[in-house]
Amino acid sequence: MLPRDALAEALRAAPRPAMVAFLTAGYPEPASFLDVLTDVANVADAVEIGVPFTDPMADGVTIQRSSHAALSKGVSLEWILNTLAERDGGFAAPLLLMSYLNPLLAFGLDALAERSAQAGVSGFIVPDLPFEESAPMRAALAPAGLALVQLVTPATPRDRLALLCKQSQGFVYAVTRTGITGTGSGLPAESADYLAAVAAASDLPVCAGFGVRTREHVEAIGAHADGVIVGSALIEALERGESPAAFLKALRP
């Protein structure tokens, strides 16, 4: 099975709602990152690994902080792929890389696809790469069967929603609120209709995120989506020195 199909399958097979966790690579410490990742992958159904970038324009203060900390400790895409390759795919959940485009372009898209597949990565989320600009990335990822996940938002017009859901791979990332990561809390009142529209347009699992902080949020989103994405709240748990696995377990209904 191609990695992108295995990703979709893992999210479908998980107890609903599936849980997608976000970790900034190398945070809080590069030396302990594989242990953190292993623990989180034992609880989550998929893990997004954030590639730190100097200019994370779609991220709120929490992920800005963790990205900056990781960069200052020398974390790079090269380090991430080497570190993951050490473990040779031995994680309990599929892994994705979430990265702004420039580090990927600097690495080289063909080399990126090859090295990512070798490192056991299933796909990519690239917040500053809209579908219209994604042809080179999709072409590079296709031979290795890696997913390029499309995001949709409450502001996405219906015809565009259909296009993005059709073109997404692995799952559809439904942003639940207009804004940057880590802002607001819970589920806006109008989200039920929006998530229903996304689900209707998509053959892939729909995972919803932005502002998920409590078990109540997870339950509320789980009523309308196949999965939930937990990012900033998990990074904040790490900042407080808590166990990320325990934090995620406590969010499970």
Binding site: D55, Q64, L101, N102, L105, A106, P127, R160, L164, I180
Partner: protein, 423 residues
């Protein structure tokens, strides 16, 4: 980046001259495009439609032209520079954007975009600023139009440009100090984009240079091309012919692209862009993006950038805050690639010396940004004696007085050279 062959380069230049570049996807050759978070896609699509409609709308153009004439003070003067001409052995002319309202070319863009924001039904405007010139011009245009204005400014810049912060506040803008990232222009753009992402329907992002996602590089160029159109007509009327060369400073590149667009089709007019060489060629010591950078994506556009082997954007340095940016407009990346514009650098010292020379010879205090163009022109004139040179004076230097206070007249090694040459 593949270099186009001669025929392709000529086709791309013809498209620029004919007005068919950028294409519908905002591409200047391979550069440009629209790399924004999905949340912003409906907003940039609406903006592109609005730009397409209003820039061709006679009523909108009439309103804009009225503001440009009676509020901005256009056309700006073309000033002959006999003092510099004698010193350099050239015939030197200055296009005086420093005489425009608020003291720089920035106002051409902000009044146009503020009118566009109003036409599109925006309820508030956000802008970024480095040294504060775009922030002041945005605040003034928003006050004129009657829209609330929020300006993001790096905390470092807030501290070193206190005068402009006060100007913006007096003009009614809310100034927010950005504590994240490098706390300068780049971080201010990041933060302005975050604000826009949070409210893409009611908020209009008034970007200050010919950078960013499509349609901004096109929109800003169209609003700034008034500089080149006026300058071309003025220099022909006053001197009887076109210049041999035209010079502009390049940070993001809005004043330069505006000047060049008057002369792109005049193949005998050599065009030069002068970037900030800062302290020297080491990474982090300059802002010479086109001279030292590589293609990449930042702030929504595929252009040439300064970044390290991991793709991380680099810190830059220039004595001139307005040139202190690690990217450049995508149209400049194309103009360099096809060889229509020659991009060179001037160091901090060369710019400071050129500023002093212009003050003494012409009684004009240029902005430190514009002083880079003067320095580049001065060097070229020494290699090409007897030529006619047009220089874009993008702004006035009053804002730079706190920085100039740290560099007393004659303190740079370059000024000694200048004095010796003059003697």
């Amino acid at each position: 980046m593949t270099n186009p062959d001669v025929a392709q380069a000529d086709d791309l230049l013809e498209a620029l001259i004919a007005g068919t570049c950028p294409d519908a996807h905002g591409r200047f050759g391979e550069f440009g495009g629209c790399y924004v978070p999905e949340t912003l896609m409906p907003a940039v699509t609406r903006l592109a439609e609005g730009v397409h409609h209003y820039l061709r709308d006679p009523d909108f153009r009439a309103r804009l032209n009225d503001e440009l004439e009676h509020w901005v003070g256009r056309p700006t003067a073309l000033t002959h520079a006999p003092g510099l001409s004698a010193l350099w052995g050239a015939d030197v002319w200055l296009k005086r954007e420093d005489l425009a309202h608020t003291g720089a070319h920035k106002i051409n863009n902000t009044i146009g975009q503020a009118l566009l924001a109003q036409a599109l039904g925006a309820e508030r405007i956000v802008a970024e600023t480095g040294a504060g010139q775009h922030g002041v011009a945005s605040a003034a245009a928003c006050a004129r139009i009657g829209l609330p204005c929020v300006v993001y400014m790096g905390a470092v810049d807030v501290a070193r440009q206190a005068l402009n912060v006060d100007r913006m506040r007096r003009l009614g803008a809310e100034v927010i100090a950005v504590e994240s990232g490098d706390q300068t222009l780049r971080a201010a753009i990041d933060e302005a984009i975050r604000d826009w992402v949070s409210d893409p329907v009611a908020t209009y992002y008034l970007l200050g240079s010919a950078i960013g996602p499509h349609p901004y590089p096109y929109l800003v160029r169209e609003l700034q091309s008034v500089i080149g159109k006026e300058a071309r007509a003025q220099i022909i009327a006053r001197s009887g012919s076109l210049p041999d060369a035209a010079f502009a400073c390049v940070g993001g590149g809005s004043n330069a692209i505006g000047l060049y667009h008057g002369f792109l089709g005049d193949r005998d007019v050599a065009l030069f862009g002068i970037e900030a060489g800062g302290h020297g060629p080491a990474l982090g010591e300059h802002s010479a993006t086109l001279s030292a950078g590589k293609p990449g994506v930042l702030h929504g556009t595929y252009s040439v950038l300064l970044y390290d082997s991991d793709g991380q954007i680099q810190e830059t340095h220039s004595v001139s805050a307005g040139l202190d940016y690690p990217g450049v407009g995508p149209e400049h990346a194309l103009l360099r690639q096809i060889g229509r514009v020659d991009y060179r650098t001037a160091t901090d010292d060369e710019a400071l010396a050129a500023l002093d020379e212009c003050c003494a010879a012409e009684g004009i205090l240029p902005a430190l940004e514009s002083a880079h163009a003067l320095a580049g022109a001065r060097r070229w004139a020494s290699e090409n004696p007897g030529t006619k040179i047009l220089i874009g004076m993008s702004g006035r230097g009053d804002k730079d007085m706190p920085i100039l206070a740290e560099h007393p007249v004659g303190s740079s090694t370059q000024s000694e050279d200048a004095r010796n040459a003059a003697a």
